[in-house]
């Protein structure tokens, strides 16, 4: 009480004059309104916070749109609370505005963190490129420059069109603004919406004008290339995006390459490659891996076409088993495209790491197709005929030379490499690109193929493109439209391991393809996503089409009917894809200023605005103070009608009730209110639960004695050792017909309950907090966990911090919530002092059983 003694009593007796009474009634009404808005904002803030936490924990995909929206929403809600408290107690808590501004500024800075500055040149010749220029030229071109200029390996002549050029392009005539606007308005959770959006944005890019300075720079660089390679030289345009090929992430096959491009189509081709940043696979990949759009700046490589006799991919180690250090070469006739897009079988050469490397195995396959590039017709797919079909695409000498190159690149970069190569008409090796190998730890030895009954075996053999095992219903994807209907958790079955299926990998349990090897784009993305993939299984589509649920054991190279837990058990849990991504890191960092709760004890000295370190702290502080301010009003204004009244029950317990609005059935005169005059449904529900089952001790007492013990606990100050504030001495209910806010202190135990329960289900909520106890920390913790367990079973979301428990449930129908409030009433009484016995496991079990039985009984009763 702010003023003590006789004077205070005298003041309180002086009732408000009728005119004052009308004004005070009005003022109270307005205060109640602000209080309601404040509680609404509190709910919203807590809702967003738990959403943020869940997002950080789980495997849900999110982008910057979510991060920004969540941060803004929580900031607006918390600010509304700060403002609300200011209205309830003008000038009293102004320090909160400063705290809020400081925290919000931190969050803003985290979200707005700019990208590092880059080399401003629009084009850079290959002869001047190296690793250090990755930000300017993108990973692919910087790597090619590095191996050309520092390792002296042969690469095609060419130049990089830099990320700065792409930024100019996207900034020109506000193209990027328009793209962002469309992206931000889209529902990124729906593939069909994304599909349409992707097409729309790509069209915009293809039709957009290239800024004159960029156009000029590109054409000048091309002219220089003509001077080096001859007039009208045909070039390949390849994406060389930032963030691409960084080892952790391979954007393999997400972007477009344009082959056989001449001067006349150069600028169109450039736009086409830029547009592929917004292709469906690229958009979904960024979403799945947590890249912001702005994290991906598009560099483009412009390289003279190599008249490839043969081509393929070489791995400096086994990509599906990093413990296997042999060098693996995949080779086809013509351009390496056929290896990369998984459209034909390819030769496999395996070599040792010796110097010189020794050819350990050569598997020569029937190569049915090849891609060749003709000056006029461009890239053509040809059927391979005659003896060439079965001839190896590489000589032994070439294989050895390639293995040497792979080992040299691995040494240079210090990590295993994935290298695309071609041989020219002179038989010389040309490196087209190289990047870190995305390898995957193979499953443990326990996964060694278990014996299975023959009849359940649906397919056997093929190539392990990504190890592991996965199960789900078969989904055969044949057309692009199938992208849209692919269900979460299905097994993707396709004829060719085409890159376009990569956008489904975030949802697939496993992948099976009739054609394709482990060198293709789809295989690398599968490895990166940790999705088991088994390729090279002819006839799989027809055999699996009607198989229903299957288990794909990619490591054991077989597909079996049904779900096989034994095979799946050996599969390591898939890592959450978003973890470690730029967007995840940003959200994690912002969340540190939002979510943690540091203010736990309202009686502690630290419970003050200047100790609010997070937005959650601010909400906790405001909530506590707002309740207090609501109670003070009637007392401060000597206004009986809006002062709290003591609940008159059979025995003298100190329960104080403040009617916020329509919480009483009638006008209540004087200082006492009877239970029969209470109209508040949540409070009555709490009371039903509180008094339903007599407390059995300790000490063991009968029903009447129980209440006397309660009385002691609630009135005897000497029991309330932890109590410092007057407010905390009693049990308070603030009520309206469908709302109650309870602050309860029983002995050493502190509980709050806040409930809004009406027929408007969407707005309903129940929040319960519980803290304290007389026993040591361990025992109090044990009790908190037992309470948490019970509440979780009832559908509450529960969080525990030290011995402080916060439980929430929302948007449930009125009868459901009233029943739960009864349970909380029961728990508020019965869990007190049981912290004293929590060290004894037999007792704990006894209480667990008793609570469950009692709660069952409570739930089975009618609520009348």
């Amino acid at each position: 009480m702010p003023i003590g003694g006789y004077l205070k009593k005298l003041l309180r007796r002086r009732a408000a004059a009728p005119d004052d009474a009308a004004a005070l009634r009005l003022e109270f009404k307005e205060r109640y309104h602000h209080f309601k808005l404040l509680l609404g904002a509190n709910c919203k803030a807590l809702e967003v916070m738990s959403d943020i936490e869940e997002t950080l924990r789980g495997e849900r995909l999110f982008g910057m749109t979510f991060v920004r929206a969540a941060c803004t929403s929580v900031c607006v809600s918390v600010f509304s609370m700060v403002r609300g408290l200011e209205r309830l107690a003008p000038g009293k808590y102004t320090a909160l505005f400063e705290r809020f501004d400081a925290i919000q500024k931190d969050i803003e800075e985290i979200l707005a963190r700019p990208l590092p500055p880059r080399d401003p040149r629009l084009v850079i010749p290959l002869a001047e490129l190296n690793r250090e220029l990755t930000d300017a030229a993108g990973g692919k071109m910087a790597n090619l420059g590095e191996i050309r200029n520092r390792l002296g390996l042969r690469v095609p002549p060419g130049f990089a069109i830099t990320t700065a050029a792409a930024e100019r392009f996207f900034a020109h005539r506000e193209l990027q603004t328009e793209i962002d606007r469309r992206l931000q308005a889209a529902e990124t959770g729906r593939l069909d919406a994304l599909y349409a959006l992707s097409a729309e944005i790509q069209q915009m890019i293809i039709r957009a004008e290239i800024p004159p300075e960029v156009e000029e720079a590109i054409l000048q660089a091309y002219a220089a290339l003509e001077a080096e390679c001859g007039h009208g030289v045909k070039v390949a345009l390849r994406s060389s995006a930032l963030g691409e090929d960084t080892g952790e992430n391979s954007f393999a096959g997400q972007y477009r390459s344009e082959l056989n491009v001449g001067r006349d189509t150069l600028l169109t081709a450039y736009r086409e490659v830029l547009a592929s940043k917004y292709g469906l696979p690229a958009i979904t990949y960024r979403l799945q891996r947590g890249f912001r759009d702005e994290d991906i700046a598009m560099g483009v490589g412009c390289l003279a076409m190599v008249p490839a006799v043969a081509g393929g991919v070489v791995y400096s180690r086994n990509p599906v088993d990093p413990h296997d250090a042999r060098v693996f070469i995949n080779a086809v006739w013509g351009l390496p495209k056929a290896v990369v897009d998984g459209s034909t079988a390819c030769d496999l050469f395996v070599l040792s790491r010796d110097d010189p490397p020794e050819l350990l195995a050569a598997e020569v396959r029937e190569k049915e197709r090849k891609y060749l590039c003709y000056p006029e017709e461009g890239v053509c797919r040809l059927e391979v005929s005659g003896p060439e079909r079965l001839q190896p695409a590489l000589t032994r000498e070439q294989a050895v030379a390639l293995a040497r190159v792979a080992l040299a690149l691995e040494r240079h970069y210090g990590t295993p490499q994935d290298i695309e190569w071609a041989t020219d008409e002179a038989g010389e090796i040309v490196i087209l690109q190289c990047r870190p190998l995305t390898a995957k730890e193979p499953p443990t030895e326990a996964a060694a193929p278990a014996a299975l009954e023959e009849e359940s075996l649906l397919c056997r053999g093929g190539v392990t493109a990504s190890p592991g095992a996965g199960a789900g219903p078969v989904f055969v994807a044949e057309r692009a439209a199938d992208l849209l209907s692919f269900p979460q958790g299905a097994v993707l079955v396709v004829r060719q391991a085409l890159p376009r299926w990569a956008s489904l990998l975030g949802r697939a349990a496993a992948v099976v393809a009739e054609e394709g090897g482990f060198a293709g784009h789809l295989a690398s993305v599968a490895r990166e996503f940790g999705v088991p993939a088994l390729f090279g299984l002819p006839g799989a589509v027809e055999r699996l089409r009607a198989a229903g649920e299957v288990t794909v054991d990619a490591t054991g190279r077989r597909v079996v009917a049904g779900r096989r837990e034994a095979l799946l058990a050996a599969q390591a849990p898939r890592r959450p894809l978003m973890q470690g991504s730029p967007v995840h890191r940003l959200l994690e960092e912002a969340a540190r200023r939002i979510v943690p709760l540091n203010l736990l004890d309202p009686d502690a000295l630290e419970f003050a605005p200047e100790h609010c370190r997070t937005l959650h702290d601010i909400t906790r502080f405001i909530h506590e103070k707002a309740v207090l301010e609501m109670f003070r009003f009637g007392q401060d204004h000597h206004f009986s009608e809006r002062s709290s009244k003591q609940l008159y029950v059979e025995v003298p317990m100190q329960w104080w009730i403040l009617n916020l609005d329509d919480g009483f059935t009638e006008e209540v005169e004087g200082r006492y209110v009877r239970l029969g005059q209470i109209a508040c449904r949540p409070m009555l529900a709490f009371w039903r639960g509180f008094t339903a089952i007599p407390w059995e001790g300790p000490p063991a007492v009968d029903g009447r004695g129980m209440l006397s013990v309660l009385f002691q606990a609630t009135t005897n100050r000497s029991l309330n050792l932890g109590v410092r504030s007057k407010f905390a001495e009693r049990n308070y209910f603030m009520i309206a017909r469908s709302f109650c806010c309870l602050n309860q202190r029983l002995g050493f135990h502190f509980a709050t309950l806040e409930a809004l329960v009406s027929e408007r289900t969407a707005e309903n909520y129940l929040s319960f907090q519980f803290k304290g106890g007389a026993a040591d920390f361990e025992r109090r913790m044990a009790r908190v966990h037992l309470v948490a367990e019970i509440l979780e079973d009832l559908g509450f979301g529960v969080e525990i911090r030290e011995d402080h428990l916060v439980a929430r449930i929302e948007a449930r129908p009125e009868p459901d919530l009233l029943k739960r409030i009864e349970v909380l009433g029961y728990l508020a009484l019965h869990t007190r002092q049981m912290d004293m016995v929590m060290a004894n496991p037999t007792q704990v079990e006894h209480y667990r059983r008793k609570y469950r039985a009692d709660i069952e009984q409570l739930l089975a009763r009618g609520s009348a």
Partner: protein, 127 residues
Amino acid sequence: MSPTHVLLVDDEEVFTRNIAKLLAHRGYRVTAVNSGDAAIRALEEQPFDVLVLDLKMPGLDGIATFREMLKLGLSVETIILTGHGSIDTALEAVKLGAHDYLTKPCEIEELVAKIESAREKGRGKRP
């Protein structure tokens, strides 16, 4: 009680037309204008219960309109409409005194709930 009078301000005419129609169906009286200047004029002419104001408009944008209103003492409970791109500005508007914000595209039910809440707040002020 007279129906809640909503002033809707957005330069996208299709959007305003649709929203105005949907709100009218729900018993609101709606006046729609397409610019910040028109909004100020409308507010000077007659009182409104709730203002629904788009942030991104050519000419006088949402924030500038809101500031101008404050300067002229035209007080009305305001709900800010914002795209995801300008969502950070929503906080600025709320700090200036706007009641709440909503991101576009929005569900009509959501808008109605916010209008109701703003209306209630306005009533709390002027009983």
